[in-house]
């Protein structure tokens, strides 16, 4: 298990989550996405002060307002129905996800409600430079 990645996904990703929404963003920054060599290192070059990472994240963002967040939630609900209806299919997806946890250095920030570009009338897509790991998808 890549614990550095887990730190970055949960702690760093979580700490910027609301800041991103407040500034009409749906994902982490390109700078975050490019931070592939030392992501999640508590003692790395990541800012020490609380909020510093959030401030950095606010600099280069992709917009997602409340309405679009709701659209994502609907997508998630639809995914849930599909997953429940077809456990075998979901198991296959889970198996595929194991193999698709992403390259070791690849940023892995995605959750069903983050890191996605939303398109009117078309399925959401993963933001450039971000990898949906652990079975998450837009």
């Amino acid at each position: 298990m890549d614990l550095k990645r887990l730190f970055h996904v949960l702690v760093v990703g979580g700490s910027v989550a609301t800041g991103c929404e407040r500034s009409r963003t749906g994902g982490l920054t390109a700078a975050d996405a490019a931070e592939t060599h030392d992501v999640g290192m508590p003692d790395s070059a990541a800012p020490d002060a609380p909020g510093a990472a959030e401030d950095a994240a606010a600099s280069d963002v992709i917009s997602m307002d409340v309405a679009t967040m709701d659209l994502v939630a609907m997508d998630v609900a639809a995914m849930d129905v599909a997953a429940t209806a077809d456990a075998a299919g979901a198991a296959d997806a889970a198996g595929a996800a194991d193999a698709a946890d992403g390259p070791a250095g690849n940023p892995c920030f995605c959750s069903p409600t983050k890191c996605c570009d939303l398109h009117e009338g078309a399925p959401a897509t993963v933001q450039a430079g971000v990898f949906c790991c652990w079975g998450t998808k837009c």
């Binding site: 614990l3 887990l6 949960l10 702690v11 979580g14 609380p50 429940t84 889970a94 198996g95 079975g135």
Partner: protein, 232 residues
């Protein structure tokens, strides 16, 4: 599945079903508290979504119980006690932060790591699908706590939580250990979603050291007491 192992598997998924229902109630309470506070509305949305997710997780766990033990009675209602975490005298803002840290930062962060390990080892297709679905949501549930903690740390202090973390850890661990005596045989049922106790502790120690404690310290919560409280 009628063997002793089957009974243990059933008991664990029953325990998880109950834990998920309790988590649903706790996240709903957190959402209500957050609604009464001047906090980012996104936090409240995340808590409401987490409550809904946990209800769905409980149904998935119940389905596995039925798969392993045959038709089962509907789940017993939760006891009529307030689902509220932390010392009762805490003002609402601190109570909400306590709940966020206990539920999300501690419990859901450990759960995410354990689910990653469980999903890797699961061989039963239905178990694997359930673990996959739960894992997908737990990532967001953990992030709720880190988001709340980061927001508080930006304008105030969360250091008062330091003495509370050992109890949070104990509570989180209690929900992850199969309900068997410590000296009882500890069969490897990882194919059905149960890690041996030794593996649970191994994962918890690693995640606490590399993710949980550095995360808490990042936001001003001293973890010396919590580190000392972890089982060796």
């Amino acid at each position: 599945m009628l063997s002793e192992d089957g009974r243990l598997v059933t008991a664990v998924w029953l325990m998880r079903e109950r834990t998920e229902r309790e988590a649903r109630a706790l996240f709903a309470g957190l959402a209500a508290d957050l609604g009464a506070l001047d906090v980012d509305p996104a936090l409240r949305r995340m808590a409401r979504q987490a409550a809904a997710d946990e209800g769905r997780h409980a149904r998935r766990c119940r389905a596995l119980v039925g798969r392993f033990s045959g038709p089962t009675a509907p789940p017993a209602p939760l006891p009529p006690r307030p689902f509220q975490l932390g010392p009762p005298e805490l003002p609402i803002a601190r109570r909400a932060l306590y709940a966020s840290v206990a539920l999300s930062c501690v419990t859901e962060t450990l759960a995410t790591a354990l689910l990653l390990e469980l999903r890797r080892l699961a061989t039963d297709a239905a178990v694997r699908a359930t673990l996959h679905e739960v894992l997908r949501d737990e990532v967001d549930h953990a992030r709720l706590g880190w988001a709340h903690l980061a927001a508080v740390a930006r304008t105030g202090t969360a250091g008062w939580l330091a003495p509370q973390v050992p109890a949070m850890l104990r509570a989180a661990l209690g929900g992850q250990i199969a309900p068997v005596d410590a000296g009882a045989p500890d069969p490897d049922l990882s194919g059905y979603g149960l890690l041996p106790r030794a593996d649970v502790f191994r994962v918890v120690r690693a995640v606490a050291a590399e993710v949980l404690f550095p995360g808490l310290e990042r936001f001003g919560i001293d973890t010396a007491e919590a580190r000392a409280s972890l089982p060796s």
